[in-house]
Point group: C2
Chain length 210, copies 2
DNA sequence: GATTAAATGATATTTTTATCACAACAAAAG
DNA sequence: CTTTTGTTGTGATAAAAATATCATTTAATC
């Protein structure tokens, strides 16, 4: 019942709530959240009921409580430690991305096979790949970001899984197959752009939004 | 009937086909493609039927023809020109990302509001934001990548739409609302990681894959 | 050339996901 | 204290998506 799309909506509700809070909202109704997140109010309430989130009949939901509750569900009330393999362009961009830290996610260390990329002077150390296994165990890390070239991706994913990683966010443009008990979330930039281009071309032909 | 998920699968079939071609395959069956793309054979044939792609009964599909046909559908037989706003860390990583060019997508120019980021010595020029409108018109560009900080995202999206962009790939961590006739594809890195973390935590508790 | 085997393509079925509709309830008003 | 108003929470309903089924057709074999 609780699936990926549902959790993604939960994340969106959270963002929307933070914006509403910044605007001074103290309580919200399902309709407000629905508008802010681009769904229906029924959807919001249904999602909440799945997670046992309850509000006050006629009184809506308390913004602070709701944010707290969603963060709790998303596991964001404690710092989520992750690790990164591949300190190339995308890897480096992710290392410097500020959005993670404000969201309670901390990249503890980065790893690369290229000795030239290794450095410990930055905010996050870039270490040689040999130290990966030990590092992951020492910090009890379960989630890793994979940002290596496609040819290395499969091999590196096996290293990650071998070290005890059970969730991989994969930026390499190949579809990694999830081993038993390992969750893989593939982000394929080319596919995303291709997709967009298709619908833009399609709407140019038909003159309407696809 | 033809929706986002369907086009994404089409992209995946294309990647799979290219791999199969590299392995020497001349023809494939729906089952082969299904395995390679991680779906069922029925799904493959269903998708194909939506686009009028036909094969040979008992003979499967010719790999070259199939790739050609899919590329045609995805509009990839001609170079797809795109533009980028925001030459920060993520923007720069995208500029240097090789996967686009091999896939028939070319970032024609990048734009930034910060004069220090402007440079025309690279492979792709980074230009001041003032030149955006003219550039987009000159090159008849319809698709843009948005990689600016969240506070600027909405404003920049309006600049893009004002210049005639009808498809935006948004990396800013806010949910941009699609104006009439404008298609927006949001990639929210934090949401993706959050999602992964949720399912990893959930599977640790229950001991099974979420 | 007839027969057999195997994959397609169309249709039917199942499963999943989202929406609707309304009873239950709490706050506000009278 | 009673009535009205308006929102939640959820079971029922509808829509959409994925999967299974199977007749049809075609390549390969004999």
């Amino acid at each position: 019942m609780i699936n990926r799309k549902c959790i993604i909506r939960l994340s969106r509700y959270k963002s929307a709530l933070k914006r509403l809070k910044a605007l001074g909202f103290v309580k919200v109704f399902s309709g407000n959240l629905a508008d802010a997140a681009g769904v229906t109010s029924s959807q919001v309430r249904k999602d909440f009921s799945l997670f046992g989130i309850t509000g006050n009949r006629r009184g809506g939901y308390n913004v602070d409580e709701l944010i707290e509750r969603i963060q709790e569900i998303l596991g964001k009330n404690e710092l989520q430690k992750v690790v990164l393999i591949g300190a190339g362009h995308i890897g480096n961009a992710l290392l410097r991305y500020k959005g993670f830290e404000t969201g309670g996610i901390k990249i503890m260390g980065a790893f690369d096979i290229d000795p030239e990329k290794v450095r410990s002077d930055g905010e996050v150390p870039v270490l040689p790949l040999e130290e990966f296994h030990e590092f992951v165990h020492k910090h009890s890390i379960r989630v890793g970001i994979l940002a290596v070239p496609d040819v290395a991706a499969h091999h590196v994913s096996e290293i990650m899984i071998g070290a005890g990683i059970t969730g991989i966010l994969n930026f390499a443009p190949i579809q990694l197959r999830g081993a038993e008990g390992v969750i893989i979330n593939n982000i394929n930039l080319e596919v995303e752009l291709e997709n967009l281009i298709y619908f833009v071309n399609a709407s140019e032909k038909t003159g309407k939004k696809g």
